[in-house]
Structure formats: C-alpha cells, structure tokens
Symmetry: C2
Subunit: 484 residues, 2 copies
C-alpha cells in the first residue's frame, strides 16, 4: 500500500462520506425509477437529458469515492443495501478491486464476488501480494484460483501454495512474505546502501532478518538500532539473538497474545527446522483480534457468523436458525420438567408465577461464573493448584448470593401470597439453584477445555439450559414435598 494514499484524517469523516454517498445513491435510485416509470407509461426509452442527469450523479459519487482509502470504501459498501452496493462497486476503479475485497467482511465479499465475472476476479486478485491472495482464496471459484496460479511467477506461486497450506487460525495463515533479509558478516554501511537501492521498504518493517545461506534465522536488527549505530559495525555485532519468533503451525491466538504482551510490531515466522519462512505484523494481529472478538460477541448474541446487515431475509433466517433450534430443544426440556409437576401447580397456582424467578436468577448467576472461568481459561490462568480454590470460591459466592437474594424473593412471595412456607421454599430453592449454577459454571468450561474444545462455545446456552430446567425441578420439587 502506498504510504501517500489519501486517508481520511478525521475518523468522523468516514461516516460523513457514507451519509453523502447514501444521499447521492438515493437521488440515483429516484432517477432510475422515474426513467422506468416513463418507459412503462410511454414505451419510450430514457431521454438524453435524464440519462445525462444520472451520469452526473454517478460522476459525483466517483469523485467522492476515488480519494478514499480502500478500507473506507469497504466500510461504505458494507453499509449499503445490495442494489446500491453494486452501483458503488461498479464505480470503484478496477485497479482497487483487490484491495477493497480484502477489506470487506466475509458476508459482503460474497455478494461482491457473486457479481463479478472470472476475468474481473483474476484481474483483481492479480493486484495483491501472495499472502493476500491466500486470504481471498476460500471465497473464489476454483477456476479463478487456477488462473491466478498460472499467471504468477514461480517464486510467488510457491509462496501462494505455502500460504494456502496453513489452516485458518494458525500463524502461517496470518503471515506475509515482505521481509528484508540480510547476512551476518556485512557492515551496517552495506546494509544501508542495500536498503537505499530499494524503492521503498515493506509496510511495518521495524526490523531486518539476519539469515545464513541455509535460510536459518540467526538474529534481528531493529531499524531503529540501524539508525543510531556507527555504520562501520558488522551486522553480527549489533543483532539481537534473543527474540520472539513463531512457528508457522502455531496457534495464531498464542502469537497474538505475545504481540500484545511484548508490544511487537513484527516478528519472524520459522518452520520446524528453524528456517525463516515469513513474518507476522501487528496489523494482521489487530485484524485477527477484531475478528475473534467480533465472533465471540456475535456468538454470545446467538448469531452463527458475521451477518451482512442487508442480507436477504432468507439468508438471515439461515444464519440464525441453529441457535433458535438449540434454544427450542432446551425450552422443550424445561417445559417437560414443569409438566412433571402439573398436579402441584393445579393445587397451588402461585408456583407458576414464582418459578421463572428461580430459573432466571440462576441463569444470571451461572453466566457470571462461566464468564469468569472462560476468561481465566483463555488466559491460561487456571492451574492444577488453583482450580479447586476457584471452585470453592465460586460456591461460597453463590451460597452468599443465594441467602441474600433468596431472602429477598422469599419476602416477595410472602408479601404477595401471605404464605410463609412458600417464602421459605423459594429461599431454599434459590440457594440450591445458585449452587447448581456455580458448580456447572466452573465444571462445564473446565471439562470442555480438558476435552480440547473451545470453552466459550455454547457455554452460555448450556448453563442457562441447566439453571432453567434445574431451577424448575428444584423449586417445584421442594414445593411438592413441603407445600402440596
């Protein structure tokens, strides 16, 4: 990416650009509709003036879009309904297609790619670095990929094959190949002369990689050290031999955590034999972090994946049905648990009104515990030595909460139904359901972690299912024993 690309200097300007674009698109839509109505009514095609007007609006849009950074164009594309999105996509200069496709969300990328023919896709992909092509590859038709492969020079073809070989979520899938490599035995003067022969250095070059003839990584020379050191010194005398490196097969999340902890800008990626194969940069890490937390938030909200906000109704239904179905099953189970006690409810209808309180607070408390534990697991803070201490702590918190809030709901039940036994049963049920919530809130994520599964996945649904059915069973069971 050229460093001089016009960028919007005030973050609010992007939203302004979006507002201006939607206003222009609205006018464009009106003109198109007018023309279609006229054609329907008179059978006459658009008059030259009308067509000129539309052309003018388009030109204004183009002037708005041209100076924008690809990320800002991507942002505008994501915020537009499909027909308007495609009008904008047509106006974007073809030589920026590749960069913009990289920046848009997966869901929106799909709508744009569907609209392009193979020739356009090959041209768009041709503008990109091999690691970027690898990022797009899963979304491209296989004929396009084959064509792209054929058009690449042999070295880049090898790089693309390498980049595509690493599964999503590994360091290899995030790395790029823009590294500046130097030898240990030359002086900094030679290095400086070498750099000056390059037109520009790759983005995020904060260090040079020192390798030997077998591509073994020997050390790093930070650019900043290059600048402050006497040029007569040899590379081997200033290079750092003790540094963070990643293996291409390593979990990308671990690498991202290391970037965060050690404030890295770039880091070398090596293979099992210690040979330099690529580099990871902080901007890839930032994108990875964003995607990861977005997914966590979406999945906590019950969405399967990033949804294009203007996806068709049918696509949205597909994106959402899985969670609704799971929820329905757990609701059916809870319903059957209540069904077991229909006799008791028939005798004491107050139970029906009170039971959701026990279930609801149980779910809330269980989610608090599970959120803590999932987070501690993600940070690797849970060891064999402290796990049991944590378990006891959570049980104690729940017991105390159960007594406090159980007391409150007990008083509530007494005040409304003037039945102190009912109040006592509510309090007892609350304590028991919160203890159940705490135990499961600790055990479920720990068990999933032991089994090698992501403890965050579905944790909230599971705990809520347990505290619902469990809460109903405990409360109605106690009521059946002591009250009816």
């Amino acid at each position: 990416m050229e460093p001089d690309r016009n960028t919007i200097t005030d973050a609010h300007d992007v939203h302004d650009a979006l507002e201006r674009a939607t206003a222009l698109l609205h006018r464009h839509d009106e003109l198109v509709e007018l023309a279609m109505d006229a054609a329907d009514a008179s059978g006459v095609p658009t008059s030259p003036e009308e067509s000129a007007q539309r052309q003018k609006v388009r030109e204004e849009l183009r002037l708005l879009l041209d100076p924008l950074h690809p990320a800002d164009v991507a942002y505008i594309l994501e915020a537009l309904p499909l027909t308007q999105r495609l009008v904008v996509w047509d106006l974007v200069k073809a030589d920026r297609d590749g960069e913009i496709l990289l920046e848009v969300s997966d869901a929106v990328r799909e709508t744009l790619i569907e609209y392009m023919d193979d020739h356009e896709l090959v041209a768009a992909t041709g503008q990109l670095d091999t690691d970027e092509i690898a990022d797009l590859a899963p979304d491209l038709p296989s004929e396009v990929i084959e064509n792209v492969f054929r058009l690449l020079p042999p070295e880049e073809r090898e790089q693309l094959r390498e980049a595509m070989s690493y599964p999503e979520g590994t360091v290899g899938a995030l790395m790029d190949f823009d590294m500046v490599q130097i030898r240990e035995d030359v002086t900094l003067e030679v290095v400086l002369r070498y750099l000056r022969r390059l037109d520009e250095l790759p983005d995020h070059t904060d260090q040079l990689f020192v390798v030997d003839r077998a591509e073994q990584l020997k050390g790093l020379v930070p650019i900043n050290r290059l600048l402050v050191t006497d040029p007569d010194v040899a590379v081997g005398d200033v290079m750092t031999r003790d540094f963070v490196r990643f293996n291409a097969d390593e979990d990308a999340a671990d690498a991202a955590a290391a970037f965060e902890r050690y404030d890295l800008v770039s880091a070398p990626v090596v293979d099992d034999a210690g040979a330099l194969v690529g580099r990871m940069t902080v901007n890839a890490v930032v994108d990875f972090m964003r995607e990861k937390t977005d997914n966590e938030i979406l999945s906590a909200g019950g969405l399967r994946e990033d949804e294009d906000i203007f996806a068709s109704v049918w696509k949205s239904v597909q994106n959402r049905w899985a969670w609704l179905a799971i929820n329905l099953i757990t609701a059916f189970v809870a319903s059957r648990v209540i069904g077991l006690f229909e006799g008791s409810i028939g005798k004491l209808v107050a139970l029906a009104a009170l039971m959701p309180i026990i279930a609801g607070i149980g779910g809330n408390s269980g989610n608090q515990t599970i959120t803590m534990i999932v987070r501690a697991l993600a940070l690797g803070q849970i060891t064999r030595a402290n796990a049991s201490k944590l378990f006891i702590k959570e049980l104690s918190v729940s017991a105390l909460n159960g007594l406090i809030w159980g007391g409150v709901v007990g008083v509530f039940a007494f005040l409304i139904y003037h039945n102190w036994q009912l109040g006592l049963v509510m309090m007892l049920a609350m304590v028991l359901n919160l203890l159940l919530a705490a135990s499961m809130g600790v055990l479920i994520p720990m068990a999933m972690d032991k089994l090698g599964r992501d403890p965050a996945m579905g944790a909230s649904v599971m705990i809520t299912a347990i505290t619902d059915s469990g809460g109903f069973f405990i409360f109605l069971g106690l009521a059946t024993l002591f009250l009816v």
Copy 2:
C-alpha cells in the same frame, strides 16, 4: 523498554513458568505451615535449617522470575491467590515494580498497591515515563502523586499534568510523549546524524514528526523513507503532508478504528490549534481494544468489571450484585404478569408448562437482532436512509421465524396435550412475541444511541425483560381470550 529484555520466545512458556512458580509456592506454603505448627507446639522459633530451606525455595523462585518480561510477571501475579501473589511480589526486583504495576489488571493492581508503602510507590512510579505515571495515577494515594510531582523535572511535570488532564476514553489519555521532532529545512543527512547521537529511538518510532518553531505539525517522515532516500534531499521534499492525525480530545475508540483501518503503527496527536502535543502508538491501541472487548464480554456475562479471579468472596458478591438485582426486578415484573392470569392457569395447567417456551425463544431472537443492530451502530453503518429498511428486514425475519418455530411448538403442544386450539394459540403467540422482539431489538439500541448512551449497555437485559413479560402476557392473554 530495552529491546534486549529476555522475552519468552514460545507463548506456551508463560504457562509453564506459571506452573513452575505455583509448584515452588506450594512447597513454600508447606514449609511456612510446618514452621508455624512447630512454633505452636513447642514455642520454639524456626530452626536454622528450616529457615534455610525456605530461603532456598525463594531463591529458586527469584531465578525463575528475574529473566521474565514484566508482562509475564504480571500474568503470573494475576493467576495467584493473594498470599502467594504477595510472596512473588516481594521477590520481584524493586526496580521493575513500576513496569509490572502498569501491566497487571486494575483489580490485581489494587491488591499490590495496598501492600506497598508510600516510599515504595514513589520509587516504583519514578521509573516510569510521564504518560505511564498518568495511567497509574488514579490508583495511587494522593500523597504519593504529590511526591512524584515534586520529584519530576519541570518539563516532565508539565507533561504529567497534561496527560492527567484528559478523561479516560480520549486520545489524550492514551498518548505518550516519546516523539522525535525535526525541522523542515534540514537535509536527511542532518537528520541521520542527529539520530545517531541518540542512544536509541523510542519504541514504535516508525516516523519522525516535522514541526515548525511554533510547534505546528507540518508533516511526517517515515523512517523507511529516510532509509531509502538520498541523504542530500531536504526533509521538506520527502515529508508526507497528507496523513492521519488525532485531536487529543477525540474519542479513543474512533482513533483505534482509524489505526485498524489504515494499519498505522504511530500517529501524531495535536491540540485544537494544530500544535503537536503527543503521539499515539499501536501498542496503546491494542491494549485499549483488549480492555474494551474484555469489558463488553464481562458486561454481557453480567459482571460489573474485571474481577481478580482470587478476589475475596465479599468483593465478588459486590462485583456481581448489581446485575442480579436488576434481573430480580425484571423477574418480579414477569412474575406479576403471570400472576394476572392465575385464574386461567388454574383452569388449564398446561399453560404453565408451555409459557417459558414462548418467552425463551423470544429472548433468543431479540438478542440476535439487538446484537446485529448494536454492532452496526458501533460501526456507524446505520444512516437515516437505511434505518427503515433494516427495521423492515428484521420484522420480516422475525415473522418468518415465528411461522416456522411457532409451527414447531404448536405441533409440540398438540402432541402432548391433544388440544389443537392450544397449538394454534402457541403459534400465534410465538409470531407476536418474535415481532415484539424484533421491534424492540431495533428500537432500543437506536433510541439509546440517539440519547447519546452506549447502545450495548444493558441491551441484552432489557430485551430479555421485554420478551419475558411480553411473551407471558401475549401467550396467557391469547389463551384467556380463546381457550378458557
């Protein structure tokens, strides 16, 4: 931070270090307990051998901790129960206290600061840059801050005052003062000589800031361009005049979004008059993003703030009570809604067993909608023009989901209770509750955004409250009208 600081090169090693530290601490605890038991039994203080053994364990711990990066020591401190945490804290070299305090979470920092006396705190703070002191300041006793102020040279005192003047969440609160400033009219040769006189460049120096005598920011010179350009060229001829800059009062979230979009490593911060006042770096952005998403995830889980996993039971209860109380109130409301229909439930007990299904699926669907809308709002993707389209889309998705899942639950009700009218009422109730969920899922966050509130705050609790009470009311109301 020295670039040569020993860092753990494999991310898994941090967890290993934690496991080794806990094993040593466990041994240490045992020795202390043994000594105390012996003293209780015999009244004799610890024998010299026992004391030597404890000393040996401590020494091993120190050897483990010394080479670790401050962020890794922070990580270990966070994963330990309080007493063990303080043993480790005592062993950490005093000259690293400041850096480590910066790295630990707020909750854990509190426990460490409580344990230090004013003298130690002033010494620890003295090791830090002014922008870092400003980060710690809210947690320090005011006498310590006053002492720190007194000990700083006048220029840094001014910087600290400046850094502390920006509220949390602004660019000013995240910026640092480690900028290299140059003049427009000198050659790159002069700049290179100037840099060589410095011992090292500040971390994350990827560009130099060009200012005039009035401190007005005129441009930027990327370090990489400095390296590839002929040294005889003047700064004014190579500097970038078109670049991203931030105002110190700006929202940090907007700045972070710009870092993400434009792949920045550092960016200048200016005041209202355009004078350079500081710089923002990608590592501050990464930390900010992490904290922000952590808070979102914690608050979605019903926790008020980051909780020290070994907080006392009482502290945990305090951290969690607010959400439980809010939940209790909404549960009471739902309970009273059910109470309105106790007569109907008494006549048809099946209603009690079926009603949680309508409420549950409504909450799930409402959370899906609200998650989408909150996200689109956060990204600024919702404009006046597309808001109504979004609203219609969400209503359509819900209507379709209502018919599908309403049909399923209707059949479920019919199969269990052999009452087709009950099945129809369930289906109708499901459609209506999902439409309610969709409307509120769109309107609540949009209204909160209009009112200048964070739309994510409490959105999930509110939508669930509405779909619970609303679902009970719709289902029991329809049942009362048509069934009993």
